[in-house]
Symmetry: C2
Subunit: 82 residues, 2 copies
Amino acid sequence: MIIARIHVTLKQSVLDPQGTAVTKSLHALGYQEVSDVRIGKFLEVKVDTTDKAQANERITEMCEKLLANTVIETYEFELVEA
Amino acid sequence: MIIARIHVTLKQSVLDPQGTAVTKSLHALGYQEVSDVRIGKFLEVKVDTTDKAQANERITEMCEKLLANTVIETYEFELVEA
């Protein structure tokens, strides 16, 4: 069993209105030291295999096809044996 | 400048319908080896300070008050100097 820990984040050039809203909320709560918030997704995908090289290839495909919108998002992942 | 990399995930005991939907979509795309998907949030919070101990305390407060719903979610974070 392998677990892929995947981070999907907006590209730096893409506006993040959700992050801006959270920044404003944190300021309103008195956390003036916060200068920026970016919000992305974190996915844990459990895969029934022990072949790390194959898992790497398949997870990359899943990210490209479904998990990330590569027009506006980037992804990175690490594989952990469980 | 310190960047807090925060993971907010649903507690194990809480159902994750979004994760279930993604699991089904991956199966439909032919990725039968996927046995489970859990989806959480990933936040990068930039803080204007150099005091790591203080940042640690303040980020914990932000998570408790705003960033995570501690009834159903857990959070963990690491601080990176930028």
